[in-house]
């Protein structure tokens, strides 16, 4: 997938903080946000600003494992 670029959008209000996406992301691009969402969870977030070396390929594995359909995936 070299060269392919992608991105994800995590809906923080849908996230229940199971962090299966964090486990699934091959490039460790998802982190835990430090503010509670309206459901009372610390939601996952896309570490966009920190991915200079390891870029999102839009592989969608995070979305695949997300039980709450909180992640949308975009790819070039």
């Amino acid at each position: 997938m070299a060269g392919k670029k992608g991105t994800i959008i995590i809906d923080r209000e849908l996230c229940k903080g199971c962090y299966l996406c964090i486990e699934a992301c091959p490039n460790s691009l998802i982190g835990i946000f430090d503010e509670l969402n309206q459901l009372g969870y610390y939601p996952a977030y896309y570490r966009e600003e920190n991915n200079k070396d390891r870029e999102c390929t839009g592989c969608a594995t995070c979305a695949l494992v997300c039980p709450d359909v909180a992640i949308e995936v975009y790819r070039e």
Partner: protein, 250 residues
């Protein structure tokens, strides 16, 4: 950039009531995706169970008719017999299908009812608070097996899918899981095959899906997915249990 993954068309815009890391909503999503991909959304009727997934109709956006606890296969039989050109599926938990509804399920399979049954196995009664289910593993703790399930006291787990494979009317039975990307993809293929089997009118099909229940297992969601791989599959190996359908097109 193109959107390559989004909420499928047949999943309603609603926040799931399920606990964090629960497998139900993954399975709901997979069913919705397959319904969309097969273009059967306007002729599919689902039968939700009693249990955690009792509110499945709040999420999966097709016609749904609620069955009494365990009776999903019987209600689905009535629907399918009246509407033979429609696609009918029942969605049942392990207590629903393998305890109270065993008779209805075995006989629907034996009659070869052309329905798809999705059997969600989380090795406990989730909604009622984590009591022993017929599928609870030996040694597994639950609120009614405080010292772990003991074969003498509590019987051994029931291998319902293997039992159903003996039934003459069942044509396709596979056990999958939704604890990893790979297994989720496999589960989706199995759901697809089950619907296609029904569309071809070949008989009864069932997909048993091992599904994490982190809260009742007293684990984190990540631990729960690992527990399926490390422990649960030893009792319930992931495999095609019966397949007289073979490759199916469409």
């Amino acid at each position: 950039m193109q959107k390559v993954f989004q909420r499928p068309k047949y999943l309603k815009q609603a926040v799931f009531h399920y606990c964090p890391g629960c497998g139900h909503s993954i399975i709901h999503r997979l069913i919705a995706e397959v319904i969309e991909e097969l273009g059967i959304g306007e002729k599919t009727i689902g039968v939700p169970p009693a249990g955690c997934a009792v509110l499945a109709y709040d999420y999966i956006d097709v016609d749904m008719g609620e069955a009494p606890h365990g009776r999903g296969a019987a209600v689905a039989t009535g629907l399918k017999r009246v509407l033979p050109d429609h696609i009918v599926f029942s969605y049942q938990g392990d207590g629903d299908i393998a305890a109270i509804g065993t008779a209805e399920t075995i006989h629907a399979a034996n009659r070869g009812e052309s329905i798809s049954v999705f059997f969600i196995n989380n090795a406990c009664y989730g909604m009622t608070g984590g009591q022993m289910a017929p599928t609870t593993l030996l040694g597994q703790e639950s609120t009614t097996t405080p010292g772990g399930r003991n074969e003498k006291r509590d019987a051994a787990p029931l291998d319902l899918s293997e039992i159903l494979a003996i039934a003459r009317g069942s044509v396709y039975i596979e056990r999958t899981a939704v604890n990893s990307p790979r297994n989720i993809r496999k589960t989706k293929r199995a759901i697809t095959k089950s619907f296609k089997t029904q569309m071809a009118g070949l008989g009864f099909s069932l997909v048993e899906i091992l599904s994490p229940c982190p809260v009742n297992w007293k684990m984190t969601p990540v631990e729960a997915t690992k527990w399926i791989d490390d422990t649960m599959v030893k009792t319930y190996p992931l495999k095609v249990i019966k397949d007289t359908v073979g490759k199916i097109d469409g």
